[in-house]
């Protein structure tokens, strides 16, 4: 106790006391700072579904198809609610929120009567509510009634018409739909370079009109907006003519127009050299007119370079552009790096030596927090992973990129579901080809199925991977994973996976599997049979004949037949798996070692009765395993039946089959005679060499 006091005294006396005290500066915090800091502690974790889904096993989607379905059903429910809100708006006006939340109110519809007076305030309101075409109509009315509209308003309206190509801007999609916007919005799928500008549309009409009455400063704004609009919607010829006009009339071109111009350079000029020359000329012009380039300018330059696909000078020029950017004090954004990646690795084989990607990753890891600076930023992760896997084939690089994605909230830089799907597809295809299970499987577990639902190619690669590395413990789990991810159904496209998986199981059965494994594999075979019941083909024919029956006979149909018809109709609605000989043999190979006599024999009989309609025949392996099972069960007649089938199909294993049955001690004399007759009749060489008792 005394010692403690002594120590405490000593510490306070020896420490240097500060002579004065400074109050720390107040740090300005935003209203959501606490939320943001909490958010930074939480990382994306593959254990729970996306936020829009309910956290309940029945309601968690696992396959890609389900995720899309459920997300869009939720969006559909929201739209239905919106419809009700707009249909009965009088019920939704009572407001308790301060400040009031506009999205909880019925969407503001415009009554004709309200806005019958063409007035400037009307125009502003319409423009604020994104009704650009309506605003133009009202503007026309203003001109008719000779009501004065201020210039600011006119030019604002003209700008909007140019930006939106004389149409109303599209409504923002709900977040659930937005994730799938690539599939929903077919316009994106078409060529981005196609010309969509409306000829003689509202924008052009207004342009002609305003041209006449514009003052020089207004002309600048007018011409620049017009050219930007034309270039945005890819109407190149008219844009170039207007630019000629502008140059003749010495109207200065401003930054936005220059940006669009550089971005469309690949449409303006044909060859790569000409494009680059054009870009350089444009940049020189900008310099002469002392217009500072911004991030968008440099990104447009890189975009143009990227569109020159295999250009020898491309990489050099890209590096020069990056240097310029740094000199101007602009930090390259993710979009710039995305373009640089595509420039340095233009094809599948080229670019590996440059080691550009690792350098880019070095740069990016220095940045403390990534921000969205440009609309091109969304392409970075997809491009990086694409090139890392197809071009560099470097596992460490791919993992580095993935770690970078998982750090903080960088996952928001993959803007839609399509790109995310491709990102993970590329990642896993590389890892499955090159890496070891101890490293790959944890990553796979963490991502599948909540963050990423693999497509069929990746599943096939996974099965390859599992079979080459012989991860036996995983085989049975793989079955439940396949079920969960929606790959076991009656569609033809998924047959490959089913066949591939079953061959995998059978290969392990040929080794020395434990009894536990045999039982589990047999269980899997039984599950398949339960899910897709064997449909005898004769029932089909009967159904076909009753539909052809004339009307009289139909009246005489008994109730029993009617019931049968209804049952067949319901059976047809259920998914039917097309059984072929290959699948049947696989199932027999799985069931027979587990001593499941009834199931295997029923499969065999199904094959026999439907031999004409099934595609392949039962293979040797399955027949031999069935025979050995029959032998063990001492079912001699069935064994003889199997041997006859082997004889018919003229398989080489007939010799072994005869030998096997011969050794069985319980054969009666009749059966032995039967065996001998089969041997005599058989055309297979090896069968004759077997000595029969």
């Amino acid at each position: 106790m005394l010692l403690r006091l002594f120590h405490r005294y000593a510490s306070t006396s020896t420490a240097a006391r500060p002579t004065h005290f400074t109050f720390p500066q107040r740090i300005e915090r935003s209203p959501t700072t606490v939320l943001e800091s909490l958010n930074s502690c939480v990382q994306t974790d593959g254990g729970n579904p996306a936020y829009m889904f309910m956290d309940d096993p029945f309601l968690i989607p696992t396959s890609a198809y389900e995720k899309r379905q459920l997300a869009l059903s939720k969006a559909s429910g929201k739209k239905a609610a919106r419809w009700i809100i707009d249909r009965y708006p009088y019920a939704f006006f009572y407001d308790v929120a301060v400040p009031s939340i506009p999205s909880y109110f019925p969407t503001y519809t415009f009554d004709e009567k309200e806005f019958i007076e063409p007035d400037e305030s009307t125009l502003y309101k319409l423009m604020n509510w994104n009704k650009v075409t309506k605003a133009h109509e009202v503007y026309k009315k203003c001109l008719e009634y000779k009501i004065d509209v201020s210039d600011a308003c006119k030019y604002a309206l003209f700008d909007l018409l140019c930006i939106y190509n004389s149409e109303n801007p599209l409504d923002a999609l709900l977040p659930e739909e937005d994730w799938y916007r690539r599939e929903l919005n077919e316009k994106n799928q078409s060529n981005l370079m196609s010309r969509t500008w409306k000829e003689n549309g509202l924008a052009e009409q207004m342009f002609e009109e305003l041209k006449l009455s514009a003052t020089p400063e207004q002309k600048v704004r007018l011409y620049n907006s017009f050219v930007s609009g034309l270039l945005k919607y890819n109407h190149i010829e008219k844009a170039m003519t207007i630019i000629e006009e502008m140059k003749q009339a010495t109207i200065p071109i401003d930054l936005t127009t220059y940006n669009y111009l550089i971005r469309s350079a690949s449409l303006i000029k044909e060859s790569y050299d000409q494009r680059w020359q054009f870009v350089v000329d444009t940049l020189k012009e900008m310099k002469e007119n002392s217009i500072q380039p911004n991030l968008r300018t440099f990104n447009s330059v890189l975009y143009t370079l990227r569109r020159c696909s295999v250009y020898e000078q491309g990489p050099k020029l890209a590096l020069a552009v990056l240097n310029e950017m740094r000199q101007c004090g602009i930090e390259p954004s993710l979009g710039s790096w995305a373009h640089v990646i595509m420039i340095f690795y233009p094809g599948d084989q080229i670019g590996f030596e440059t080691q550009m990607l690792p350098q880019i990753m070095d740069e990016l890891e220095k940045v403390p927090q990534l921000e969205w600076k440009d609309s091109d930023d969304g392409e970075f992760f997809f491009n990086a992973m694409f090139k890392a896997t197809t071009n560099c084939r470097d596992i460490d690089l791919a993992k580095r990129i993935h770690r970078f994605l998982m750090a903080g909230s960088n996952t928001r830089f993959i803007p839609d579901g399509f790109r995310e799907q491709l990102y993970y597809t590329n990642l896993f295809r590389l890892l499955f080809r090159v890496d070891m299970p101890e490293k790959v499987m944890p990553l796979w577990e963490s991502v599948v199925p909540n963050v990423y639902s693999p497509s069929m190619n990746v599943m096939e690669d996974l099965i390859e991977f599992v079979s080459t590395w012989n991860i036996q413990d995983y085989y049975v789990r793989l079955w439940s994973d396949l079920l969960m991810l929606g790959f076991i159904d009656s569609r033809q496209t998924n047959r490959r996976i089913l066949d591939r998986y079953l061959t995998l199981l059978i290969q392990t059965n040929q080794g020395k599997p434990s009894t536990e494994q045999i039982k589990q594999y047999a269980n899997i075979a039984r599950q398949i049979l339960k899910r897709f019941p064997l449909e005898p083909e004769e029932v089909e024919q009967r159904f076909g004949s009753t539909t052809d029956a004339p009307a009289q006979q139909q009246q005489e149909m008994t109730d029993g037949q009617q019931e049968q018809q209804q049952q067949q109709q319901s059976n047809q609605l259920r998914p039917k798996l097309q059984y072929d000989g290959h699948l049947l043999s696989n199932l027999i190979c799985l069931l027979a070692p587990a001593d499941d006599w009834e199931a295997s024999w029923s499969l065999y009989e199904h094959y026999l009765s439907n031999r004409s309609t099934l595609i392949n025949a039962l293979n040797e392996q399955s027949l031999m395993s069935l025979l050995s099972l029959a032998n063990r069960k001492n079912a001699i007649d069935s064994a003889l039946d199997i041997i006859e089938t082997i004889n018919e199909l003229q398989y080489e294993c007939l010799g072994d089959a005869l030998d096997l049955l011969n050794r069985n001690g319980n054969l009666t004399n009749r059966s032995r005679q039967h065996l001998m007759t089969i041997q005599k009749k058989s055309k297979v060489e090896s069968a004759h060499h077997v000595k029969l008792v």
């Binding site: 889904f53 309940d56 989607p61 239905a80 609610a81 009700i84 009572y94 009031s100 909880y104």
Partner: protein, 174 residues
């Protein structure tokens, strides 16, 4: 409530049970009821049926006198604390929410709706049977969330749990 008074008599003499009624209805000065059905009933306490097959969930089996002991309320809000605001509005909103969910989710909820209020959000929870496809369920979820948010002018979220069928939540037969 009927109290059983056991007189302190030795067992071999009979145990006379004296039924003293404590029903507030009987002793009230203002409401004078005498008919048997009205006087002997109590809220949320069912009488035994002859066949003993009236299903009760666990929550329903905990009669209202146990609220605060082994049973909690079905809504959670701070309106009844000191300086709590909007007591009446919250109660009426709750009644509306229960009726809305009852009418929109046709025979799907097998438990009472649990309403939690956090800041200005309303979170609805409950147990739902799996009698409809998940697609339809998500449609209902999206619809309910959107329309209730628009009505109450507060964000409304649903956090439901599914149960195989109604028999899973039946606790006893009364």
């Amino acid at each position: 409530m009927n109290i059983l008074l056991k007189q302190n008599l030795p067992r071999y003499i009979c145990q006379q049970q004296c039924y003293l009624s404590t029903s507030p209805i009987v002793h009230s000065w203002f409401v004078k009821l005498t008919n048997v059905t009205q006087v002997n009933t109590e809220a949320a306490v069912p009488k035994h049926t002859r066949k003993r097959n009236y299903p009760l969930t666990y929550e329903q089996r905990q009669f209202p006198k146990l609220i605060g002991h082994t049973k909690t309320w079905n809504t959670f809000n701070t309106s009844n604390l000191r300086d709590g605001k909007r007591k009446a509005e919250i109660v009426s909103d709750d009644l509306f929410l229960r009726q809305f969910i009852y009418g929109t989710w046709h025979s799907l909820f097998v438990s009472e709706l649990i309403i939690k209020r956090r800041h200005n959000m309303v979170i609805l929870s409950g147990l739902v049977t799996r009698s409809i496809h998940p697609r339809r369920m998500y449609f209902l979820i999206g619809y309910t969330e959107e329309i209730l948010s628009a009505l109450l002018k507060t964000p409304v979220k649903m956090e439901i749990q599914t149960v195989e069928n109604k028999e899973d939540v039946i606790f006893t037969y009364w």
